[in-house]
Symmetry: C2
Subunit: 340 residues, 2 copies
């Protein structure tokens, strides 16, 4: 017969309350924790997490919603997230919504019915439909990478605007004036931030941002391939390009490769994310990188903090810095004036 909580009490000599507290994730003295764990091991006591969930109204499950698992930036964040959460006994229920707003709403609903204790979301949609309800039900939400205007919650972001501004400034410093940008979709928070950084850097240098130098690549490989082709066609005098996420960078490199464009002699290139890919490029690609691990870790920590707090405190926004990794894909503009 399966061991019960009473058997654990007999074995350890501890009270039922202490053991129950341990089983429900409460605080138990270190000495007692060890005793209980030894007894659990010895008696092969099995905790039924489902039953426990009903009793404590805690399922120890965190829902995670993201646009695409099959995207290195997101995958790195989730890897870290899941690790930190599981280390604290929380299971991660991961829903990939394939960058589809409707699927995202379904995922929120799905996780609500699963009675997750909280949700961590890298949002796809702009409306945040369903999220406010989750919070109203007292379940914390942590948002990563993107903000949604109507939803106030803990958020972990990177400084996208500053990152793009810095990248463009580096191109300007090398004398480039006709700088193309492959941006993400207009309704994506990070895409807009990066686009604003591009505009701001040009503006500071007294150069108007030209429509013909901007294409939207929707953060996809295909978008990157098409984008660079379009830019090159429209702007024969373009000498540099800034590509604002990894998948588009990959797509643009595939296309530049196909077209036989020499980098940096014929085109200076600054990409985004994935340092390993950048190093495998010929020549090595200069890129902006984001602190993916830290994004995941900080989000998990914010969630765990919320789950433990007795009274709700102010929402936090953590903003992390990016890094620029210099490669050999940028040269001085062949016919530009150097410096500003």
């Amino acid at each position: 017969m399966a061991a019960t909580i009473k058997d654990i009490a007999k074995e350890t000599g501890l009270g039922l309350a202490t053991i129950s507290s341990y089983l429900n994730g409460g605080n138990v003295r270190e000495k007692n924790r060890i005793k209980i764990e030894e007894a659990i091991e010895k008696l092969d006591f099995e905790v039924n997490e489902v039953a426990r969930g009903l009793k404590t109204n805690r399922t120890k499950m965190i829902g995670i919603i993201l646009p695409e698992l099959n995207n290195i930036f997101f995958a790195e964040i989730i890897t870290e997230l899941e690790d930190v959460l599981r280390g604290q006994g929380y299971a991660a229920m991961i829903c990939d919504c394939r960058t589809d707003e409707k699927r995202e709403e379904e995922a929120i609903d799905f996780l609500k019915r699963r009675r997750v204790d909280g949700m961590i979301i890298i949002p796809t949609g702009k409306s945040g439909r369903g999220l406010q309800e989750v919070m109203d039900a007292g379940k914390p939400i942590v948002m990563i990478d993107r903000r949604i205007r109507n939803v106030r919650c803990d958020t972990v972001l990177v400084d996208n605007r500053g990152a793009a501004e810095d990248a463009i400034r580096r191109l300007l410093d090398r004398g480039h004036r006709k700088i193309g940008m492959i941006a993400g979709a207009e309704d994506v928070y990070t895409a807009e931030e990066r686009f604003q950084g591009y505009c701001r850097a040009l503006e500071a240098a007294g150069i108007p941002a030209e429509d013909s130098l901007i294409v939207r690549g929707d953060y996809t490989i295909r978008g990157g391939s098409r984008g660079i082709k379009e830019l090159a066609k429209r702007n024969p005098d373009m000498t540099a390009v800034f590509i604002s996420n990894y998948e588009m960078t990959l797509g643009a490199m595939i296309e530049l490769n196909e077209l036989g464009v020499r980098i940096p002699e014929e085109m200076s290139v600054i990409g985004f994310d994935n340092i390993e890919f950048a190093k495998a490029c010929i020549p090595r690609l200069s890129i902006v990188t984001q602190p993916t691990k830290e994004l995941g870790r900080r989000a998990a920590e914010l969630m765990l903090k919320r789950l433990e707090e007795k009274e709700r405190t102010e929402f936090e926004t953590v903003r992390l810095a990016t890094r620029f990794v210099e490669g050999r894909s940028v040269c001085c503009c062949p016919d530009g004036e150097r410096g500003l």
Copy 2:
């Protein structure tokens, strides 16, 4: 007040048994299904999946254990898996065990306590400790990509041996005789299969496999970088190399790039996985690709089939074919005889 199952009965005019059957995933006539779903929508009835799990002894959760989420091959499989499962109302509880056998055992245990209905695993360890117990408890297990000797269950594999054999044969056909291989760890199922394919192709051509031409790169970027360096140092006469997974291919390309080795003139290269990366390489890389989506889909289907069957039928093994995608990274061996 929240709507109850009785309210649904009143609204639809159907019996409680029918509604209960619907809610517990049983068969319900299409006409009734629509009625019930409309009523659920109208009354804002919320199904408590946790409570339902206790009652039916089904949690509608599938545990997924994999070595690394942050690996494009695995991420693509999981994306598809999760999609198919969620489409059938199953939540995926994903555990990344960081290629650590101990963490894998912990994950199995963790998911057991969560009372998942079944587990889909891309194994890291060789022992399969804990898995037999899960099956003995009547919960199905589906294994992807790798086999474990002692565990008999449904399995979805790719033809790794054939893939490697084919790649090596292509190098032999171009006159190469000194062909290096960057293999995975000896205790990894796919690594051994690919290694055997390499040996078999050489054997068929009457060429003995030389120890100095084989390095183990452990399926990591770093292993690939070190591996190619080691191979080149040991074998100045090596004219071609076969790299047997994506991460090692990436690492080797980074290193070849650093060393300034011209591909294919100085070194013919065949890599593995990730067609997009292969296209971004200069020159375009010839690679072996695996049917990741199909691996995920087939595994999910096997799981769903098991969950529905009344009597246990024979275990199935599905073996999928790989594909060779020709790039421009292989040339005729400068001083070899052509053809065999």
